[in-house]
Symmetry: C3
Subunit: 142 residues, 3 copies
């Protein structure tokens, strides 16, 4: 019989200038398989304050639509107080990422991700340049 465990892991994902959106479901499936976990939850947390995580149907149309909506939440061509101190041009990135949120918890059932057929786990880079994003994975369960 399986025993309760915590498994810690980190994945990285290369993303382009934000908003850029990448499917990390294959990496999660690989994590489930290589660790032989059966039932529980994978907690994901993106390290850094200009990235976020969510789920979408990962097809080019939804990706384009979501990018537009994210941009509308905090357009890069507005003025940001963050710029007045830092002048790094990514005030909008911070706001977008804070509104979407840095974490996600995905269930595992019978040794597989319990996501929908057309539901992929995605990482979003909101920053104003390409970034290699680090995502901390923590499995709790059996």
């Amino acid at each position: 019989m399986s025993e309760f465990k915590t498994i810690c892991h980190t994945i990285t994902a290369d993303l382009k200038t934000g908003p850029d959106i990448r499917d990390i479901t294959p990496e999660l499936r690989g994590f489930v398989k290589s660790n032989g976990v059966v039932n529980g939850v994978i907690h994901l947390f993106i390290i850094g304050s200009t990235g976020s995580l969510t789920t979408i149907e990962y097809e080019p149309g939804v990706v384009a639509d979501l990018k537009r909506a994210i941009t509308a939440l905090a357009p890069p061509d507005q003025e940001y107080a963050h710029e007045q101190a830092w002048h790094d041009g990514n005030g909008h990135s911070h706001v977008q990422a804070a509104l979407l949120g840095p974490c996600l918890s995905v269930p595992v059932r019978d040794g597989a991700l319990a996501t929908g057929t057309w539901q992929q786990v995605v990482v979003i880079n909101h920053d104003n340049g390409p970034r290699t994003r680090k995502i901390a994975l923590t499995f709790t369960g059996m």
Copy 2:
């Protein structure tokens, strides 16, 4: 003394055309009671990419206000790239659901949900038709 455990469960909720919002707090209370869990966290994850989860004071006014705000985030009468490929009329549903997010984690304390008195756990259907939503519940704790 209680032992550490993972309990997996699925609840379903019938919802109308989105945005529709339904209180699932009674189902969560039933889960806590029937499983005799005492302290820990219930992780909720909605299966499918046009649904989401959050908490609100579940009264008709807030429900109406939140529906309006959700619609403003991604109005159905805009054009969506998702439509060009799929023509299923729910491009806005995908964007709304991605922005709100598919998961929620609710604490359990002394055998009860540790939510506020006027804070209910709700599932939201964003799709352009009625849907029976499946929500995966995973308890970790004692």
Copy 3:
């Protein structure tokens, strides 16, 4: 060797009229240290339906920018159906909090928070008056 455990704790944070944003990373660090936890996840849940949690780079510019974006999501000077029943002037607070969400899960690695260097955990008060916010913390791991 460490054993699997669940640790429950509550922190409180005094906040001004919303949107007000406060860094609670020091409290989380204190929790990690005083409990000697090493690897796992801290689940945070704000009790009440007019507060939320996220992460930001906690500097005055980002704080100001995020306040503006939150206000734009649900401005206090719009009409809200919640007001017609309750007349407590915080219809916008409920909508803002529901969109941002009440929970957050932060990883712990090697006895420290695995957040970014410029990424702080913040609690947000959306209500139309000062509030002492209660946040339920649940650690699961070792």
